[in-house]
């Protein structure tokens, strides 16, 4: 491999249709290298070597995309806020996301959810009372802390989004790679399976399952997940893997035909070695991009189901259920409509921006 790439450039090697057989693979490779070297200054990623330059290139291109960076930063912050910030805030504020404060300031004189920056008093079990702060006011006439519920809602959204994504990516890469690389009957089998899954009315089926069969899983939390999260992850995963599988199948399929894989074959590399050192590295890009984008999609789906009352179990806070309650207070507390909506749109926007940015970074030819 290495000696091929450093092969002195020659017009003959430049010509793929040269008669001398050994030169073909070599020539093809050399040609490709020269082109990428000369035009558009693309580093020799195609050869599957020079990985450092590869990542540097991606980072360089990503850095130029300010929006994508902003998205990335937002996401990092969101994770911190959701999993570290929420419990911390709950500790600092002194109450949980599911505690109602109706008779102690959570509702205003008109029995309406208290507005932002309201102080409520909490009865402690030892008989004393303490004053606490509702930063965004109450979530509903149940007078729970909207702010905390938003934070914990972020947890649910991310758990479902990431969980389901991991699920579909794993299945997708596995089946996609097998189908794409080995082809033959395994490919036929998997492709057919994909087509069958695609024939289902996805959301209808999700809702049907979530409301009927899935309900039995609602109490499974593994101690840290929100109630109902597991159900959603499973359902989304089992019905969603086909899409990723389809993508990775075609990626691997095209990789398999690439000159550098042929070349590797010619120098007698084993399948496993080819997969390890030539296929997988090239899947990293698509995986990252697809993952980022599908997290956004799943977050939206979760919100939708919770909105229909088929998502996470009450009283677990979810942006969807917050959104479902909000219309009750349209006229007096329009802000309740705004918080979860904005949280949702910003989050999905962030993931989409980052995803697009990554796609362009990984595949400059696609960038416009």
């Amino acid at each position: 491999m290495a000696n091929l790439t450093h092969n002195p450039h020659s017009p003959v090697a430049d010509d793929p249709s040269s008669q001398t057989p050994i030169l073909v693979g070599d020539g093809g490779l050399a040609l490709r290298l020269d082109e990428t070297a000369s035009d558009l200054g693309d580093d020799g990623t195609q050869s599957g070597i020079a990985a450092r330059g590869y990542w540097e290139g991606i980072w360089r291109r990503l850095k130029r995309d300010k929006l994508a960076l902003a998205g990335g930063v937002f996401i990092v912050v969101l994770f911190v806020v959701a999993f570290a910030g929420a419990p911390l805030a709950s500790k600092l504020l002194g109450h949980g996301p599911n505690e109602p404060f109706l008779v102690s300031g959570g509702l205003d004189a008109n029995q309406l959810p208290a507005g932002p920056m309201t102080h409520v008093s909490k009865f402690n079990t030892n008989g004393t009372t303490s004053t606490q702060l509702f930063i965004l006011g109450s979530d509903s006439t149940l007078a729970r802390d909207e702010f905390l519920r938003l934070l914990y809602g972020a947890q649910v959204s991310l758990e479902v989004g990431v969980g389901a994504t991991v699920f579909v990516i794993l299945l997708g890469v596995l089946f996609g790679a097998i189908a794409g690389f080995y082809g033959g009957w395994s490919d036929t089998l998997i492709s057919r399976a994909i087509e069958i899954t695609m024939a289902f009315p996805y959301l209808l089926f999700v809702i049907a399952l979530a409301g009927t069969v899935g309900a039995s899983l609602n109490t499974v939390t593994f101690g840290f997940l929100g109630e109902g999260v597991v159900t959603l992850v499973l359902i989304f995963g089992l019905l969603g893997w086909f899409y990723t599988a389809r993508v990775f199948r075609s990626v691997v399929l095209s990789l398999r035909e690439k000159e550098f894989v042929e070349a590797a074959r010619m120098v007698g590399a084993s399948n496993s070695r080819i997969i390890r050192s030539h296929i997988l590295p090239h899947l990293v890009g698509p995986i990252i991009v697809l993952a980022t984008l599908s997290v956004a999609a799943f977050i939206l789906a979760e919100a939708g189901l919770s909105f229909l009352g088929l998502g996470v179990q009450l009283p677990t806070a979810s942006w969807g259920s917050l959104l479902a309650d909000a219309p009750q207070y349209y006229t007096q507390r329009p802000l309740l409509m705004v918080w979860p909506g904005v949280a949702l749109i910003l989050t999905t926007l962030a993931f989409n921006l980052l995803g697009d940015g990554l796609r362009d970074a990984f595949d400059p030819r696609a960038s416009r």
Partner: protein, 549 residues
Amino acid sequence: MGVKRTALLALAAIGVLSLGVTSASASATRHGARGGTIVVEMSSDVDYIDPQLSYYGETWKLEEATACKLMNWPDKEGAAGGVPTPEVANGLPIISKDGKTYTFTIKPGFKFSNGQAVTAASFANAINRLANPKMQSQGIPFLDIVEGAQAVIDGKASSASGVKVMGNKLQVTLTKAAPDFLARLTMPFFAGIDTTLASQIDANGINNYASCGPYYFAARTPNRSITLKRNPNYKGGRAANADVIQVNIGNDTNVELQNTLSGATDYPSGGIPPTEWKGLVAQYGLNKKDGRVQVRPLMDIRYLALNHARPLFKDNPNLAKAVNWTVDRQAFSAQGGYLYGKRTGQILPPGMLGFQQQNIYPIRITPGTIQVANKYAKGNLRNGQAVLWAANKGVAPLQAQLIQYNLKQIGINAQIQLLPRATQFTEAGNPKTANYDVTIEHWGADYADPYDFLNILLDGKQVLNPQHNNYAYFNVAKYNQQMLQASLLVGNARGTAYAGLDSELMKNNPPWAPLVDSNDRTFLSGRVACVTINTAAQAGPLLNVLCRK
């Protein structure tokens, strides 16, 4: 002579029906513009429109407009509306000396929407159809006093021996004198049915049938709409102002409000966002004549039924007490918004015969109350897991979460299951499907008598019926006996007996956690008039009277 006496006695028992409503005077007499369509909205579908099955307040609003009954509530407000008055019966029945045999004469001229004449048989058929075991009606408990009804219920006979048709006369024999019998007859269960419907026996209900009231059910599309049209053959005196009463189903309460404000809907029967009431009262005033906001006290209670058929509450009175101490009635009521109702810790509502203010349980929680609750709960939690049922529309989910939180405070982890309201109480009333430990229930008096609360809701004899109303599955021989006795008493004795039962149960063996005695709150569009509310008959404006301005 004797006849008169017993008749008066019967009425005396009913006299207490007069409610403390003196607000709007009856406007049933004033007929506004006849014609046009009245649009009603319900947030979820009704249970049945079949008269022998429907047992949902929302449906009864429609049944009242479509049924013709031997005895009925006059389309009047307040006290005047609270007296069962002969409708199809030609005057009060003749009652035998022993008070067990009632003989009604059928007034001529009543016709079904399909042209059939209303006869004595129409009512006999209703009773027999109601009793038919294949119908699985929740109305069966009201037949306990009709002679021979039980045989039909048990499938041993096809018609109740106590119900005889003699020409234009209907004779009903009771097993024992029942002071509230005439009041029972005002329930849609006993409305006249034509021969076609009489022949159709289906536990899942008939969706198109001829009726003999001012209106009839012209169409029903489940989960979508119900249409009432004026009964062309109706000659009875009741109003039928609108040509069509259109019921649209499925909008959330906030949309119902939007539609009512914009005039697309006239009566949001499914309710509006609770937080809106205060503003609406301020804007439109309260209980003005034909005003847009009408509020009336109801004999109506919202409570937690604690399922005594399941391990958690079976023979576990202390936990039941703990629940009564821990539930935050103030908070629960707050979910309902302004003028939702009056917090209560007892079974019987104010205005009901036998109501005595009992202060057994707190109507406001304090750290103290929580400590008492935990004292009772201690050692009685069993596995501490509970299933909590609630309706899936309006404020019910919020209330469910509140109860869930209250239960958590005494160490019960409740998992919430939300169902459509109709499904909720139908499944809850069916021993096979009642898989809850606690369900948030809501009971409106079918007619103003304590029998309709204690016996109907807590008599243990019915808990094995395929359909019943004892959602607490409360079955204690001693109390069953006491309820039976009380139901036979008359006048003050009756009241005292039921009052005693009320406090006795709540003190020693609470079947429920009573929460709120709720009001009837009505908001109407600006284009309707002829607003008449008869809380004895139903909640909300009488739809057959309601008219377009």
